[in-house]
Symmetry: C2
Subunit: 328 residues, 2 copies
């Protein structure tokens, strides 16, 4: 039996934000029903080359698919080796037999599913008339968040800040190539927040870069950057003032933005409203009024990789895309 | 940059027991120098289909190779799906950049490197004039152990027992197709041990199947089967009487044959002589005389997969074997 191999280009042809949104919704439903096995993430730090590696694995009985994503980040690759910073070979096995069904480039999947999770939180928690997004960070994840949110809210303006001006210029061009949207480069975080309905933080920051006074009532915040212990983007007083939702309680307590406030004793764990999946299923309460500050803390789940990769695999088979090779 | 894909057939053309022996020796030297990162094994049990999955990963700075082996075992596959019970896609990344250099079938690697580790223990610990092997179990690993040991000792006779007579018959034919050796099927474990110089246990047993009285002075024992908590092949009194060497102290304490005797208080951890790599390097003492019973407890290491897969990758490039595909 041949294994299907899908290159980055082939995945790019199949992967859409609509597929990502549907797959992430499916993932949150599965998660809330605990209908999956998701072992702890295995991490390696390759300090000599400023690299890191995460193995994210998940088994979903509903689809009978096991996924293993081997995600590496080597931040000096573009400069030193003319290679992408991130690689992510992803292997899909049949849950019934362990047979390796498909090996694909999973590097685009992370961006899409993380964007889709942020957008799902915006659809559930942001004020419906939200028009302006404050964006801190101008990398790939910042881009994916806006691409995804535009699918669920009628966003007209993005106010963006990054200390890297070249990156902001590239971000503006790239986003306007894809969307009919106004992009306003700002001089600092405070300026991005003027008149903003949503705040997205997508930086590798290790200390708070957003102050409480800058966040107006009614804002929905999507906290993407902090995904491991030691990272922080928001002043803990913002989290104290907000209604907080997380993708995975166990992961966020261990490596999310909420970890910082909990460790410092700014608020107790009971301050967290619950998981986004429970909000999606109507099990917990969302925004109560126009004045609430709501916050979604995302750390990313192997389960989201699993459902999205499964969708791509199915599309590839339907459309006859990819290379079939007898490997195993 | 293309990624090299190596099928099971191509790996079979490149993989030899000599390469496995050399690679496993290299692995033990690296391990004793702690020149690697070897995260904990990630395991999933797919109980609905009697399947299991282990992710074994390792980074070796010496070679700048990161390996991830995705090893599954679905014991009903041959009967229910006409598929092998074991699959093991193995991904090799460049340690310097994270780039996926090679994806190969790693299912043969496990057998070869485990056989080679057993043979290395025999070369270091068995009596030089050993001629007769008692073999409990007649599966693939039993076969690989004999194939490997024949490389380091002048073995003339294999006395084999398995409750499955068909398997014993197939084992005998298969081994005699490969080696000039006498194979004697036995009616039970006790009978295999009559006159044996070496004892190899390679079963999935969960209780002791070898009694102390059956093991004569001077025997070298290779305990392969017990590689996770709950498995046992040897009466703990055998371990108490033996000089014990392990592949990895931390792994064997957690999931090796020695775990059972320690848990039952039959002997203290200090009864274990040390790691085979330290014996290889001359850091610890081996067999003292003809009467010693020596024992090697093997749980298998991701590091061994790494060095052997690295050797196969290098050979494949030298010989121009495999399929090159732009995937990432």
């Amino acid at each position: 039996m041949p294994t299907l191999l899908l290159s980055k280009k082939e995945v790019a042809r199949l992967l859409t934000m609509d597929l990502a949104l549907a797959s992430v919704k499916t993932a949150f439903r599965i998660y809330q029903g605990a209908r999956m096995q998701q072992p702890p993430i295995v991490s390696m730090a390759v300090d000599a080359h400023q690299g890191e590696l995460d193995l994210k694995s998940c088994y979903v009985p509903d689809s009978e698919l096991i996924s293993i994503k081997i995600a590496s980040g080597y931040w000096n690759n573009p400069k030193n080796h003319r290679l992408p910073a991130m690689h992510a070979p992803l292997v899909l096995l049949a849950g019934k037999t362990g047979y390796p069904l498909c090996i694909m480039d999973g590097s685009l999947i992370t961006g899409y599913r993380t964007g889709a999770a942020g957008a799902l939180s915006a659809a559930l928690l942001a004020r419906k008339e939200s028009r302006t997004v404050a964006l801190v960070g101008a990398g790939n994840q910042a881009f994916m968040q806006v691409m995804a949110i535009k699918k669920v809210l009628d966003i007209q303006e993005v106010r963006v800040f990054s200390p890297n001006r070249h990156r902001v210029a590239a971000f503006k061009k790239n986003l306007q190539d894809h969307l009919d949207i106004t992009v306003i480069p700002c001089e600092g975080v405070e300026e991005t927040l003027r008149g903003a309905d949503l705040l997205i933080t997508a930086t590798p920051s290790e200390k708070a870069i957003v102050k409480r006074d800058w966040v107006k009532a009614g804002t929905h915040i999507i906290a993407i950057g902090a995904d491991m212990a030691g990272k922080q983007e928001l002043d803990t007083s913002i989290l104290k003032a907000a209604k907080i939702y997380v993708d995975s309680l166990s992961q966020c307590l261990e490596r999310g933005e909420v970890r910082n406030g909990l460790l410092q004793g700014v608020f107790p764990a009971s301050h967290i409203q619950g998981e986004l999946g429970d909000l999606l299923l109507g099990n917990i309460e969302g925004r109560r009024g126009e004045e609430d500050i709501t916050l979604f803390d995302a750390t990313g789940m192997a389960l989201q990789d699993n459902t999205l990769a499964g969708g791509i695999y199915q599309l590839a088979r339907e459309r006859g895309l990819g290379t079939r090779l007898d490997l195993f």
